[in-house]
């Protein structure tokens, strides 16, 4: 019992952390953005090193340092609130290349102790990885587990294994739909359209088709034993051919998805360059989803056994 409550808290807290934690860039990010856009503003955090004074134009100029230890002048439109006590700020800003100073548009809050790094091209949208990536992984895990129990059925002819296989495929389908939805929402805001046949989108689409076909097959066979062996065979064939898909895709279409083989810009998801904080949250989330999957499997199996018992009584 206790671990279920723990699981709820685990996922809830991690989700909250993922959503609430701000994205904050450094002066380096600000300067980098300035190279390609003079007007684009990004969130950044800095500590105040010199409280400065009123600027010529009536604003306020102070000096601040980012987490890398670089310093710059920060220009505020008015004197920032609580300047006397504030150690630092989280602001929305841009780098003014003419005045050589940081132009602060809005103060978002105090200096946050914990923030995710600013990733050019992804920005706030980077947070999807805490939800989308675990879902995608669970899709694959559930599919492999389903295939594994399919093989076990073929070896031992135990219908229990077949049911495990089917339940796992069902959960896989659920996660697959969730991953597809979250991914496509993200794509709308990052790439401009919900669906544009990116290799990853295409491969998850194929996984959806495989799951769909699997259940279509199951519902079309009446004898339990026959259904079990045929669906097991189908999932093995699918598992043997899906990898080819992953080989051929990148050759036919360019990858936009972060982490694609050719993605050099916004794909630090699992590269060594990934921010430590993000990695901790992501891995914890993966663990949470894994336990969630195992729990759902258990519930379904118990339900199955209860149904069998009732059917036996009815016989």
């Amino acid at each position: 019992m206790w671990w279920k409550i723990l699981l709820f808290f685990w996922i809830a807290v991690l989700s909250a952390v993922a959503i609430v934690t701000p994205i904050a860039g450094t002066l380096g990010d600000l300067a980098g953005v300035a190279q390609w856009s003079e007007t684009k503003m990004i969130p950044m955090r800095f500590t105040v090193t010199d409280r400065g004074g009123a600027a010529d134009d009536g604003g306020w100029l102070l000096r601040g340092a980012d987490e890398d230890g670089r310093e710059a002048d920060f220009h505020f439109a008015t004197r920032p609130d609580g300047l006397d006590q504030a150690e630092g700020y989280l602001v929305l800003a841009r780098y003014d290349t003419e005045e050589h100073r940081v132009e602060v548009a809005e103060i978002l809050g105090d200096y946050p102790a914990f923030a995710f790094p600013f990733i050019p091209g992804l920005e706030e949208r980077a947070k999807i990885i805490f939800f989308h990536v675990p879902m995608s992984w669970m899709t694959v895990v559930a599919f492999l587990v389903s295939m594994w129990f399919g093989i076990q059925y073929l070896r031992k002819k135990d219908l229990e294994d077949d049911f495990r296989s089917a339940v796992s495929a069902g959960l896989g389908l659920l996660f697959c739909i969730l991953a597809t939805t979250t991914g496509s929402l993200w794509a709308k805001f990052n790439w401009g359209s919900f669906w544009n046949w990116d290799p990853r989108q295409t491969s998850i689409f194929v996984l959806l088709l495989v799951y769909g076909a699997y259940f279509a097959l199951r519902s079309a066979i009446e004898v339990d034993e026959k259904r079990a062996s045929l669906s097991a065979v189908y999932s093995i064939i699918a598992a043997a051919t899906v990898p080819f898909f992953i080989f051929i895709m990148p050759r036919i279409m360019p990858g936009l998805h972060p982490g694609s083989a050719d993605d050099t810009g916004s794909g630090p998801v699992f590269s060594s360059g990934m921010d430590a904080g993000m990695r901790v949250v992501l891995y914890s989330m993966l663990l949470g989803y894994l336990v969630l999957y195992a729990w759902l499997m258990r519930i379904q199996m118990r339900l199955h056994r209860i149904k069998l018992k009732r059917a036996d009584v009815a016989l």
Binding site: T26, L27, G28, D29, A31, G32, V33, A34, Q35, W36, S37, T49, A65, D68, G69, R70, E71, A72, D73, Y95, T97, E99, H100, R101, V102, P120, G121, N190, W191, G192, S193, N196, A240, P243, F244, F247, I248, P250, R251, I252, M253, P254, L256, P258, D262, D263, T264, G265, S266, P268, G273
Partner: protein
Amino acid sequence: MKKRYVIGGAIVAVFLVIGGLSFLNSSVEYATLSKAEQSGKKVQVTGKWVQDMSTHYDTENNTFMFYMRDENDRIAKVVLDGPKPNNFDIATSVVTKGRYEDGVFHASEVLTKCPSKYEGESASDHPDGIKKSSL
């Protein structure tokens, strides 16, 4: 009986790897625009996006058109089968994969190279306003 599955499994594994290798081997050779024009082969060309010349996204055919300048300063019109690549605006250089035909470079892929790590740059590379703190 058991042996059959072991051998079969091994064959499947080996050929999956061979299939996968075909993907690794598929990297096409690098060339310049002039070379691409001569050979008519599918090649990779490294260059820069010419920002002052027009770009166009054709929603109907899902193609993206832009101009690129290669290492030899030759400029060519590039038509990409697909939408505008990720981070295209902030790319410092682009790699296009495709064939040169009828004065247009038909690209099946465009890779963008972006300045992804600002932290690694030395302070002197930064604009005047940003200085490494002496502390």
